[in-house]
Every structure is written in structure tokens, then in C-alpha cells.
Amino acid sequence: MEAVLKNLSSTAELLAVAARSSVVEQWDKQTLSRAFHWARYCEHLFSRFHNNTTINRVMGKQLELTNESLRAVFPGYTDICFSDLFQCQHLLLIGLLKNPDLPISIMKILFDTASPVNNQQSDYLDVTGFCSHIIQCKSACKVLSPLTDLSGADVEVQGAVLMERLEDLLSGGGEACRTEHIVNSFLQEGEGASGHFCLVIAAALLTRNNSAAAAAQTASQDCLLDWLQKEQNVLQQMCSALPTTLIIDLAKRHLKCRDAYCDVLKKWASSMEYSMSEGEWVQANTNRTVSFQRLTEHFLALFAACPSLREDVEKELNVLNISDGDFDVRGLSVWGDLLSAINK
């Protein structure tokens, strides 16, 4: 452990030196490779221990000490914490590229358009073309993205990554609150992200893993579903914002989704009032997320996908209609009108 902590310190120092010191003028290809090797080592440390609160704390303390001494040496030094280390190589890279003393020969190595062979894993990874490869991937994504669907590959990837992290957590001792922490943190990104966020959740729930990790995936998807059921507004957002086909896929895939979806629809219906001026059922609350027409379409789509549900739901609607008086006139009971709309 001692050695690990020492290495951690050294790497933090390395990052500072790379970003702020003129020592980089002396760097050559070997030094560069070694630097990235250490950065990779720290990334590895992060992935091993970030779930472990004890070690997390120990590492954090060590970094605090290192930060203190570095602050003394470098004016304007920004602290580094353990949770930053997931992208240690990236931090190293930014530091180096922003350092005006970095020799141009080093930059040329990083931006060399290397042949594919160089990117294979080896003991001391060759960093030739490190930046070139990043640029190539980012550009390739931009070139291909007009051809891909509405939901896009980035959403699917984000969904898949979310699943991976949840699986990690659950397999590592199941700290349920951390699950919520991760998923909740998406919400904190503000309104703009919420539509996107719904897509990510949907993608996460729809990921299919054919390998042996299927059980772990089911467990984490269940976890996510449980969380979802507690977050009614997210659920409602999903049902109104997502394309119907996507919701139907979710309903077909997960029973909990199907039931939750059905519940949302019923909740929407119950919140409706008949408006004389518009001659139609509308939602009573100020933000009208769904129209009567749309609600009917939702029901029909759900029944088309899950025919077994139809009978039960119709029975339920009937009961509610009867309790409303069982009149045959339009505009008196939302349930009655819903029934007749569905059965048209």
C-alpha cells in the first residue's frame, strides 16, 4: 500500500510538472511514454478502488498532502482529487499541450498519423499518434452521425456505460444509495439534458448482453426500474417525450415497465376534465403534456403490443365508468369516452 500511495503522489507531481514546468523542454519520446504509462497506472488504480470507501479515503488523503506541497511550488495550482483520476491520461495530455515549453518534437510525436499497428497493447505503450487517434475517432463519429438514427449512437453508448457502472456497483457489494447517486446526478445537469436523459435511461433498459453477464445486467436493470418507479415525474417525462415505438419496446421487454406505463396512462386519464369550450377532454393541470387523442393512441399502441393486457384494462375502465354513473353520453366520464374511443 505504501508503494501505491507513493506512486500516486509521484503521478500527481508528474501532472503538475507536465503542465507547469519548463522541465518538459528536456522530454523525449521515452520520457513521454513513461509519463503516459504512469497516468495509465493511476487510471487503473481508480477503476480498482473507486468503489472502496476506505481506500478511497486513504488515497484522497494522500492526494491532499501532495496538493499542499505542489501548491507551494506552483502558483495557481489547481488541486487534484481521487475522482479526477479516471481520466488521468487526458489530464496529462491537456497539461502538456497547454504548456508553452513543450518541445514541438514531442507534439509531433503525439500528432503523428501513425499506422494502425502502433495502437496495439504492449508493455510500454507507444504513444505515437495518441492525439491523432483521438481526433480521428471524434471526426469519424461526426462523419457517421448524420447517417444514424434519431436516438443516436451516443445515447446507446451512454446507456450501455450506465449499465456497466450499475453492474459494477451491484457486483461490488450493492451500495444501493450509490446507484441513486449515479442516476440522480444525471438530473442535476439541468432541464436541457432531461429529454436526452430519458433516451439514455431507455437505452440502458433496452441493452442486451448476450454474454455470461446477462444475470448481472438483469439485476442492474431491475435496480434501475425500481429507481424509476420512485421517480414519477421522470416516468411521466419518458412517456410523453419518447417516441411511442421506444416506449412499446420497453413495455415488451420489462413487465415493470409495462405496468408503470399503464399506470401513467391511467393517471393521465384521471387528471382530465371535460372542457365545454373545446369540446374535448383536457388535462386539468397547467402543463398539458398529453391530449385525449394522444392518450387513446397510447392505449391502442399498448394493447397492440401486449394483447393480454387489453381485457384486464378494459374491465378496469368499465368498473370506473360504472362508478361514474355508466352514462352513454359523451363528456360525462373520461373512462366511458376512453372505452368507446378504444373500441371504435
Binding site: L97, M107, C131, K138, V143, A160
Partner: protein, 635 residues
């Protein structure tokens, strides 16, 4: 010019005014990279950067190769300039142009494009900046590169990376792989639009996807998508791949920037004529003179080539390859290496075809639409597929049929009704014979053991093989001379001691400058070698004859070639007879003799004749149409 005048000019000091005029003059005469061209490309770059519409990306991809050529010119220009300040003075818009290209994903995704762009930037970087312009340029270059490599413009992605601990590089690679997988899936969906042309199938997508892949051909993560594109069966009318994509892939493949699997290469050839032509031409480089490929080496080259397999899989590929062979043949009738290559190619093709278990006759007919159909199967049948006793009969039949065919055409000629169609028939028959030259080899072998009354048809076949056109009606005398050679050989091998005059006559026939009326020296040489191997004569006797004749005529290398190809054929056909062992031993012994003779020859004095004719260039072949009048005007 007198010396004094020269001296004056050299030492004359130009006044400042004159020197500036002089430099202006120099400037105008130097081929400047003109500003209008840069303006054109800058406008293009601005247009491309304007919107993220799919057609701007498409337009960039379409212009990629010309853009790269221009960048290469710019790079040369930048490197020729003495300083960045000077470059910027000459081309003030350069910085803006390069900057815009940096943010164009098509340019930065494409490996050669990116390389050129970065090289231009490095070219503008000054190790020791001399003025403010250069210092600023340095700063700008560092900034742009830093931004390109590290900036994240997607806030949601950044948040996810942080929350889930996925570093940026890994994230982007994941997204790319996912995109490739999604697109690949879409392409994989089969299309049944044969039913209704108005039905929208996923094949519409193919063109768009292939266009987008133009900058991505050498990207390893995109390889699965490229593979899927290439392997799409072209059953749907809309399933077309972009030509730019095919060209980009071809050039990446030939410059070894991308590794393609066998099936992908075959698909590429199938879709892109130019890439197929390039492959065939590089194969044919083996048979250019001065390369000195032996039969074994040619065979090895062909064994490594994917062309025979591709031909077996796609009839259209075989037809193109054959057309290229025809062109080459028309330029060089006497090129024995070429003929041997074609023969070996055909047998590789035959083997591949058999492996694919096609119904031989059906696909054969499709593969040889221009050949005389009556001769196709008989020629194509290999000697190993029939008993040795049947060879002579079969050969006679072949010879007579061919003879009849040529006589028909030549009769038409005599009438003055010169039909090019007729000459085409003769050419096609000859071409087919070259491909099935195993029968010619059998003819020569049989001639070594024939009686005088039997040697007519095989001799005719042999003569026709070496001299398909009856130029100036020389065939009759060529036949006579061939028979003479055969006679000489018979007496050489029967007589003891060696009759000197016969040897001399033979050597004369093998002379380097053959008369138009005498047969090709190669014909005679192959007769000689076959006699040495197959004639019932002692080894020492045969060796002596071979040594003497070859020594006098100086055709050692050629003799080695003939012997090698004979050995190869016998190995391949592997027809076991009581004779086989004896034959092989004899061949080995003769080879040893010849090898010693080769070694004994003074390397500085290699006055060995080559029976291969003048070189040809690729461009020439491609420019010349495939169809040319076979007959050339002669004396």
C-alpha cells in the same frame, strides 16, 4: 560570351533599385501558388463549415482527393519558403484556410488528409520565431492542436464521462464502435426489392453510407462496416457503392494503409474495375523482360495471387482478366514468359473452379464466350484426365480442327474478303490454346517419340502455337523448317558419333536472328529438350547432345526454363507410369548439367539471348483498346 564579359557580370554590383527589380522579376517568373486557387478552396472550406447538413459532408468527401492534391502542393510551397513570414505574406489567407480545414471532420478523419494538414501546420511553425507574425503563428498552431485533441463540445457526454469514470478517449472509441455496429446492422438487412421497384429498401442507404466512408477506409474501427459494404450482394438495382469510396479503398489497399481479407479483396475487385486492372497489371509485371522470372517463380507468384480465386467466383472478373491478357499478347507474340503465365493462371483458375464445385461445362461456356465452342471442352480437358494411349488421337483431332479453322479464315483472306471477324476467330482459338498449352507440351513430348509419319499434326500444332498468324504465308515454310529440325534431332539421337553437320544445322536454326520463314528458336529448343528427356537414348548421349547444341547456340538460360516448365507439368499432372521415375531422374541429371554450364559462363560475358521481346508500359496497355486488328502489316 567572352571571358571578360562573364567576369564583369559576376562582379557587377547591382544598385538597390536594380536588385529589387531583379527580385520582382524573379518572383514573377517563379511558379507561384496562385492566390485565386487558395481563394477557391477557402470558399469551399467556408461552405463546408456552414451547416451540419449531410450534403456538406458529402460534398467534402467528393472533393477529398483533389483537396489532398492541393494540400500537397501547398505543403511543397510552404517547405520551399525560407520563413513563415514570407509564406504568410505571399498567401495571407493560408492561416484561415488551414484553420477551417482543422474543424472539418471529413478532412481530419481521413488519414492522408490529416497527415497533409498537420504537415502544413508544422511547416508554418518556426523553431526560432523572427517576428511577431511567426510568434503568433506558433501560438495559434499550438492552440488549435490542443483544442482538436482535448475539447469536448458535448456537455451531456462530458457529464456522463465524469459520473461513470470513463475517460474521453475510451468514450469516443466506444461511441464510434457503436455507430459502426448500428450502421452495419442496417446494411445487413436483406433487400427483396426485386418484387416491386417502388418499394423502399435499405439499399438506398448503401450509396450514402459508402460515400460517408470515403475518409474512413483506413480506420481500423470502421473495418467491420467496410467489410459489410463490400460484401453486399449486388442483387438490388439501388445497391451501388460510391466510386469515390472504391477508389479510396483501392489506393489505401495498394499503399498498405489497410489490411483486407481475401473475400474483401475479391469484392473490391468485383466492384471496382480500376482496382482489378491494377492487380492484374502488377501480376503481369513478372513477365516484363529484365525481371528474369523462372517458371517456378511465376508459379509461386500465381500461388500467392488471389486473382484465380476471384475469377472462379465471378465470371465478370475472369472476362476482364482475359481481356487484359489478350491486350498484352497482341503486343508481344514472342513473349514466352507471358504465355507461360497465362497457361499457369488458367490451370490455377481451373483448380479454383473445381473447388467451388461448379458444373464445369456450364460455367466454362460463360467464361469463354468468344472462344470457338467446339474446341473448348476438348482443349480444356487435361491430359491427366485421359489415358496416355489416347493422347495422340486427341492431339491429332485438336490439330486438325485448328488447322481447318485457320484454313477457312485464310481462304476468306485470299478471296480478298478480309473479314476482321475471321481473324478474331483465329486469335481466339490461339488464345484458348495458350491457356490450354498443356496440349502443346504433350505434342512436343510425343514428337520426341514419334515416327516420321505421325509427326505431322503435332508439328502443325506446335508451329501454330508459336506462329499463329500466317504472315506472308510463311507457315508452310515454317512447317518445313520445323520438320527439318525434327529430322536433325532424330538423326542426332540415333547416330554415333555425333554428326557435326547436323549439329551445325540445328544451331543455325537456333540462331538469334531467325528468318521470317524459320520457326521460333523456342520451338526448336523445346523439341530438343523433350528429345533429351523422352527419346530412348542413354543419358550420357542425351547430355552430350544437349551440352553441345546449347553451348554453341548460347541458349543456356532458355533451356533451363524449358526444362523447368516440363518438370512442373509432369509433377502437376502426376500421371504415374512405369516411366515416371526414369523421366524425373533424367530431368534432374540434365538440370545439373545445365546448372554447371550456367555457372561456367562468365557473368560479365552474359551474351545469352533473350527470346522475350520489347517492354510495354501500363499506360500503353490501358490506352490501347482491348480490340485491335490482330494482323499487323508485314513485308
Amino acid at each position: 560570351m567572352s571571358v571578360s564579359l562573364v567576369y564583369m557580370i559576376l562582379t557587377y554590383d547591382l544598385s538597390p533599385l536594380e536588385s529589387s527589380t531583379m527580385s520582382q522579376l524573379l518572383q514573377r517568373t517563379q511558379p507561384l501558388l496562385d492566390v485565386p486557387a487558395l481563394q477557391f478552396w477557402l470558399d469551399k472550406a467556408v461552405a463546408w463549415g456552414q451547416a451540419d447538413r449531410p450534403d456538406t459532408l458529402k460534398d467534402t468527401c467528393l472533393h477529398m482527393s483533389r483537396l489532398k492534391d492541393y494540400l500537397q502542393q501547398l505543403l511543397t510551397h510552404i517547405n520551399n519558403m525560407s520563413s513563415t513570414s514570407e509564406t504568410m505574406k505571399r498567401l495571407p489567407l493560408l492561416g484561415q484556410f488551414l484553420g477551417r480545414l482543422c474543424w472539418n471532420p471529413c478532412v481530419t478523419a481521413d488519414a492522408p488528409g490529416r497527415w497533409l494538414l498537420f504537415q502544413c501546420l508544422w511547416g508554418l511553425y518556426s523553431e526560432h520565431p523572427g517576428d511577431a507574425v511567426e510568434a503568433k503563428a506558433n501560438q495559434w498552431i499550438r492552440k488549435v492542436l490542443c483544442q482538436l485533441a482535448t475539447e469536448e463540445d458535448d456537455a451531456a457526454a462530458q457529464a456522463l464521462m465524469k459520473r461513470t469514470g470513463v475517460p474521453p478517449k475510451e468514450y469516443h472509441v466506444k461511441v464510434l464502435r457503436k455507430m459502426v455496429a448500428m450502421l452495419q446492422e442496417n446494411i445487413g438487412k436483406s433487400c427483396s426489392s426485386l418484387v416491386d421497384i417502388n418499394y423502399r429498401c435499405s439499399c438506398d442507404n448503401l450509396l450514402a453510407v459508402s460515400e460517408a466512408c470515403v475518409p474512413l477506409v483506413s480506420l481500423p474501427e470502421a473495418a467491420p462496416l467496410i467489410r459489410a459494404l463490400l460484401q453486399q450482394p449486388a442483387t438490388c438495382v439501388r445497391a451501388a457503392l460510391s466510386q469515390d469510396f472504391l477508389d479510396a479503398l483501392t489506393s489505401a489497399y495498394s499503399s498498405k494503409c489497410v489490411l483486407l481479407e481475401e473475400q474483401e479483396v475479391v469484392s473490391l475487385w468485383y466492384h471496382s474495375l480500376s482496382s482489378l486492372e491494377e492487380a492484374v497489371l502488377s501480376l503481369l509485371e513478372c513477365v516484363l523482360p529484365d525481371t528474369g522470372y523462372t517458371p517456378q517463380e511465376l508459379k509461386r507468384q500465381l500461388a500467392q495471387s488471389l486473382l484465380p480465386k476471384a475469377c472462379a467466383q465471378h465470371c465478370s472478373i475472369f472476362l476482364v482478366v482475359n481481356d487484359i491478357f489478350r491486350s498484352f499478347l497482341k503486343q508481344a507474340e514472342g513473349n514466352e514468359s507471358l504465355k507461360y503465365l497465362i497457361q499457369t493462371f488458367s490451370s490455377c483458375f481451373f483448380r479454383e473452379l473445381a473447388l467451388l464445385q461448379h458444373k464445369t461445362s456450364g460455367s466454362l461456356k460463360a467464361s469463354f464466350p468468344q472462344s470457338p465452342q467446339s474446341l473448348l471442352i476438348p482443349l480444356w480437358t487435361r491430359p491427366s484426365e485421359m489415358p496416355q494411349e489416347a493422347w495422340r488421337h486427341h492431339l491429332n483431332w485438336l490439330s486438325c480442327s485448328l488447322q481447318r479453322l485457320t484454313e477457312e479464315e485464310e481462304e476468306g483472306d485470299e478471296d480478298g474478303s478480309r473479314s476482321p471477324r475471321g481473324h478474331l476467330r483465329v486469335f481466339e482459338a490461339w488464345f484458348l490454346l495458350i491457356q490450354c498449352a498443356h496440349w502443346v507440351q504433350v505434342a512436343v513430348q510425343l514428337l520426341a517419340t514419334s515416327q516420321p509419319e505421325d509427326c505431322g499434326p503435332p508439328l502443325w500444332l506446335l508451329t501454330f502455337y508459336h506462329h499463329p498468324t500466317n504472315r506472308g504465308h510463311h507457315r508452310a515454310s515454317q512447317l518445313v523448317h520445323a520438320k527439318e529440325a525434327w529430322d536433325h534431332l532424330c538423326s542426332l539421337f540415333l547416330a554415333h558419333p555425333l554428326p557435326v553437320d547436323r549439329v551445325q544445322s540445328l544451331v543455325t536454326l537456333l540462331s538469334p536472328k531467325p528468318q521470317p520463314t524459320s520457326p521460333s528458336p523456342f520451338l526448336i529448343l523445346s523439341l530438343l529438350v523433350n528429345f533429351c528427356v523422352f527419346f530412348q537414348q542413354s543419358l550420357s548421349g542425351s547430355t552430350e547432345i544437349l551440352q553441345t547444341v546449347v553451348n554453341r547456340s548460347g541458349l543456356v538460360n532458355e533451356a533451363v526454363c524449358v526444362l523447368s516448365s516440363l518438370e512442373l507439368r509432369l509433377n502437376e499432372d502426376s500421371c504415374l507410369s512405369s516411366d515416371t521415375n526414369r523421366v524425373h531422374l533424367r530431368i534432374k541429371a540434365l538440370q545439373n548439367t545445365l546448372t554447371h554450364m550456367c555457372a561456367a559462363l562468365n557473368p560479365a560475358n552474359t551474351h545469352t539471348q533473350t527470346l522475350i521481346t520489347e517492354p510495354r508500359s501500363r499506360k500503353f496497355i490501358l490506352d490501347a483498346g482491348f480490340l485491335r486488328a490482330p494482323l499487323q502489316n508485314d513485308k
